[in-house]
Amino acid sequence: MEKTTSPGKFTRFVLSWLILFVVWLMFTSTLAIQEVITGLITAFLIALFTSRFFTCCDFSIFSPVKLFYIFNYFFVFLWALITANLDVARRVISPKLPINPGIVKFKTKLTSDFAKMVLANSITLTPGTLSVDIIDDTYYIHWIDVKSLDPEEAHKDIAEQFEKILLKIF
């Protein structure tokens, strides 16, 4: 199993405990004292043996600037999702199926695995694109309506708006 360049053991443990606890609270969606204590214990136990898989980030994610960018990213993503769906709707409904599919590639500047995954997922959910593979830094994207085969332009068209923000966060 590959090693990741994530933060130290203690940071990972505390962060995964915290995140798991928040997830537990969302599952139960109450603040009754018994549930909270059980949640703390359960999250602690699970974090003990899963913290080595923790991959996303360290404590600096809580700084206001990054939080702002996360917020920003959320809206950009939502907008892209909606336009993507309208796009799909247009293509599906129109009787002629206006498509010109192909697979393009481009390189990304992101370094961490987590950011790459977020970018790939975002690309999958945005208009006309589907990420097929990542090999090191290169993305291979299935594009329903290929506008350009040039990596630079494809990068600009598909990923730039997300990548800009992701670089700020990670």
């Binding site: 199993m1 590959e2 995964s16 995140i19 798991l20 997830v23 537990w24 599952f27 139960t28 009754a32 018994q34 549930e35 059980t38 359960t42 999250a43 699970i46 974090a47 899963t50 898989f53 923790f54 991959t55 996303c56 695995d113 987590f114 790459k116 995954m117 790939a120 997922n121 990420s131 593979d133 990542i134």
Partner: protein, 233 residues
């Protein structure tokens, strides 16, 4: 061979028609019997046991013996599978390292794995309040491990740890039963305070048994999947 097919189909048709005709005499949505056991269960569970989920109460308390048997069946299925399949498995790296999933799948699995384990824990801890329980929680935990096995070809689960967890959980279940015998005179008898309805800590021994069952089923099914997955040609 055609004859066999026709024979089977006609036999099944006769059988099916007869069964259907008989079942039509049952009123769907109404119960034929006047005094079944279910009325007692439906009233006793919230009143005496303080358990919200009546199905859980039946599975663990009223018919807890069945559940013990059911756990045993799964245990035996795992043992049987290990005994039936060939030896010479469990060699690490047999599923080549080359076959690890893509970066997206591995990262996604790392992210989802703790959450899925937590979901399993949530399901079996809340077995007496919401739908679900030990088995479902155990299955979810096992599929969580399966996710990691899918993502990383060289991910491995320690057989010894699985076996220890499984044994301890099973022993806990049986011991709770025997403790009930010491306390109240009958096997699996509830010997803990019941709490109040819809609290997490209610229902006497039910949450404890479900936690044990959850651990046991999770370990068993993980072992089962791992055994099957590492079976080599």
């Amino acid at each position: 061979m055609k004859m066999k097919k026709i024979l089977v189909i006609s036999l099944l048709a006769v059988f099916g028609v007869y069964l259907t005709e008989a079942l039509f005499k049952l009123d769907f949505g109404r119960q034929f019997f006047q005094q079944g056991v279910k009325d007692f269960y439906l009233v006793t569970t919230p009143m005496k046991l303080q358990v919200a989920n009546v199905v859980t109460a039946i599975v663990v308390n009223f018919r807890g013996f069945d559940t013990l048997g059911e756990v045993t069946v799964l245990f035996l299925a795992t043992t049987a599978m290990g005994s039936i399949l060939y030896k010479g498995r469990h060699q690490l790296g047999e599923r080549a390292v080359l076959f690890s999933g893509s970066r997206i799948v591995t990262t996604g699995s790392r992210l989802l794995f703790p959450a899925i384990i937590l979901l399993g824990a949530y399901v079996f801890i809340h077995g007496h309040l919401t739908p679900g329980g030990g088995f479902q929680g155990g299955v979810i935990i096992a599929t969580g491990f399966l996710l990691m096995l899918m993502a990383y070809a060289d991910y491995s689960v320690s057989h010894i740890v699985l076996s220890v967890v499984e044994s301890l959980a099973g022993i806990t279940f049986a011991t709770i039963g025997l403790l009930g015998m010491l306390h109240g005179g009958s096997f699996l008898q509830d010997f803990l305070p019941n709490g109040s309805l819809n609290d997490l800590l209610s229902g006497g021994i039910i949450p404890i048994i479900y936690i044990a069952v959850g651990f046991k089923v999770g370990a068993e099914l993980t072992g089962l999947i791992y055994t099957a997955l590492n079976e080599k040609d």
